[in-house]
């Protein structure tokens, strides 16, 4: 406890260095921007900015990339509340009560409540990470290869099945990601695999090329001519509109607390990110409310709860990523990939071996969230006006950034053509209703899982029972089994009784989503 506070002080010293402060600012600014802009997602932004970080120090790189993730959450709320546009999936449910408030002329209040809820959720998530992540890491240090392998299996399975869409298609995508991760000359085996005789593939598939293909080019192919121009007339928000009244605060307060707790719970379960947290929180508020029928007509609690839970889940998502090296979703997988490019091995030893990165990151969360409040409260009008940038200007520019970014990763035009191939394949997969995000999860975790699998078997002299005789490994495998059974049960129950999830299912159907 005391050491954590002491280390955090050290972290602040790092995060407040001018260079790091600047990159943190760039990150949250970029995040806030794409959160507002329709048609550009967090994953594509992180991928576009990823090549920029290759020349940076690890701390600066990670501060900036992390800033995009939580910065986008602030921007996403603006879009949902003022324009009924769920630019950013975690905020899709905020539209339900946020937009009716705007129509009643109380859009400013809704935004104020959202920002307040954001601060609360984020603060709780950061405190949780400060004290919880080191404990998890100390616990995970004793994991052997078999335990790590089973934990990764759980992570992959959860990431594939708990996200949106068909669970089986999700599993297929993680497998595809792992196959892509096979390409290249393996360090331990010394044989080229899946290179198809192409020398350029001996180093393996480039993370940047894969991410930009799937989340950049495939997204443009999907969205071109589909994003309607936005009219922001009549949504002018002034600074003093943001201040909620006392009675509104009294309604929103308990919702924020509950939302925060829901969010941090969802962050603990691998595979359930901010989007699921926000839906659960909304359903919970509706259920607990004395006037559930008023939800959807502009209830303050329907904005406060989901917003708090989103932010607390986003911050909490960093815990398994940083303390065990197991990313909860594809965004965190991308962040993990960025760490590995910097030469940092993710895992339970990360906090001990790279305290600068870990504590600097936590301190930068405080700094970044503060910057975001400063950016959002007085400048709210500017963000609203940014919404008017049409997609037809946006995507050609983003397209050329994608090309340049991929090229600069290895100074090779081969990577650009690789990206194009991934983009076209990714679009084909999306058209077949596959969610492409789990590919990245498999791609990042696959090679490490193979290595741990091989080590586990080498240690046990080829006995597969090592995976069930070690208690931790057996526990994780048990969780995998439970996960599969729950999926089967839910599938059967839903087939029989289509309204098994009252409160959520109809809302889900009503809220369109634009990006993973």
């Amino acid at each position: 406890m005391i050491t954590a506070i002491h280390d955090l002080g050290h972290g602040f010293a790092i995060a407040l260095l001018p260079a790091n402060l600047m990159w943190c600012f760039v990150g949250v600014l970029a995040g806030n921007l794409v959160g507002v802009l329709p048609g550009l997602g967090v994953l594509s932004t992180v991928s576009i900015l990823l090549p920029l970080t290759f020349g940076m120090k690890p701390v600066a790189a990670i501060l900036m990339l992390a800033g995009i993730f939580y910065g986008a959450q602030y921007g996403g709320a603006i879009c949902s509340i003022l324009l009924n546009l769920p630019c950013h999936p975690p905020h899709a449910v905020t539209c339900l009560d946020g937009f009716p408030l705007t129509k009643q002329g109380k859009g400013g209040t809704a935004l104020g409540i959202a920002i307040l809820a954001a601060c609360m959720g984020a603060a709780f998530g950061i405190v949780e990470m400060t004290f919880f992540a080191p404990v998890v890491a100390r616990f995970a240090v004793d994991f052997g290869p078999a335990d790590i392998c089973s934990l990764m299996l759980l992570g992959l399975l959860a990431g594939a099945t708990l996200a949106r869409g068909s669970p089986m298609k999700g599993v297929a995508m993680t497998l595809l990601g792992q196959v892509l991760g096979l390409a290249g000359v393996d360090m331990n085996l010394g044989v080229p695999r899946f290179t198809f005789g192409l020398l350029d593939l001996y180093d393996g598939v480039e993370l940047v090329a894969l991410a930009l293909g799937l989340f950049g080019i495939a997204e443009f192919l999907k969205s071109v001519n589909r994003i309607a121009p936005v009219h922001t007339a009549g949504t002018r928000v002034r600074l003093r509109d943001l201040l909620p009244s006392r009675s509104e605060l009294r309604q929103a307060g308990p919702a924020m607390v509950r939302g925060t707790l829901v969010g941090s719970l969802c962050a603990m379960v691998p595979g359930t990110g901010p989007t699921i947290a926000s839906f659960i929180s909304y359903a919970l508020e509706k259920k607990l409310s004395r006037t559930p029928e008023k939800f959807g007509t502009g209830m303050v609690a329907g904005v406060a709860g989901p917003e708090a839970s989103t932010h607390s889940a986003v911050q909490g998502d960093f815990i398994p990523t940083m303390s065990m090296g197991i990313p909860g979703d594809s965004g965190m997988a991308l962040l993990l990939g960025a760490l590995m490019i910097q030469g940092i091995t993710p895992g339970p030893l990360l906090i001990a071996e790279h305290p600068d990165v870990f504590w600097g990151l936590i301190a930068s969360f405080w700094v970044g969230n503060l910057l975001l409040v400063i950016l959002n409260v007085p400048l709210i009008g500017i963000w609203v006006r940014l919404l008017e940038i049409p997609y037809r200007v946006l995507y050609p520019c983003a397209l050329c950034f994608v090309c340049i970014g991929v090229y600069s990763a290895k100074n090779s035009l081969f990577e650009v053509s690789e990206t194009l191939v991934f983009g076209i394949v990714g679009y084909g997969l999306i058209a077949l209703r596959f969610h492409v995000a789990p590919i990245l999860l498999g791609f990042v975790l696959g090679p490490r899982m193979e290595e741990n699998f091989r080590n586990a078997l080498a240690i046990s002299n080829g006995h597969l029972d090592v995976f069930v005789t070690r208690p931790m490994s057996a526990t994780f495998l048990g969780c995998c089994a439970v996960l599969i059974l729950v999926q089967l049960y839910a599938h059967l129950a839903l087939t029989r009784r289509r309204k098994a999830w009252p409160g959520i299912a109809p809302d889900l159907a009503g809220a369109p989503e634009i990006e993973e």
């Binding site: 200007v393 650009v416 999306i430 058209a431 080498a458 080829g462």
Partner: protein, 168 residues
Amino acid sequence: MAAGHESLLSPRQRDLVSGALCIAGGIGVLIEARKDTIGSLDRLGPGFYPAVLGTLLTLVGVLIVAAALITTSRDALRFDDMAHEAAAPDWRGCACIVGGVVMFIVFAWLMGLAPAIFACVFVGALGDRTATLRGCLILATVMAVAGTVLFGYLLGINMPLWQWPFAS
């Protein structure tokens, strides 16, 4: 977003195609994995893990096909949460985006950064159905100048900014 984008395949057909693709992919991985030794359990060869992945992928493909065959079309809709996302492709937009990337590769290879950005943005921007030739030219010129300054001068990208093709 515009209404009237009909999908090319019905949900059931889509699942059948998806499953078939997974099976084909899985078998492809298995064939490729056969080139390396499988090894034994205490000494896994390089072909072992790919063989496992290939088998699993084939299996998942079979399950997807089986599920598509037994479920009714109403159930298939349960997972159809991307209905608005995957309508028939916008061919003009897609062709221009792919063309833009190809243009980037060709012009970066032949002439350097500035022409590559110009060609990429210009061709890409033509994909929007409301685009005008003038607007695309302006956007491409602005991006070429800004991109060359940002990436060429400030970030020092490792690519000639401008050269005549075949000059060397």
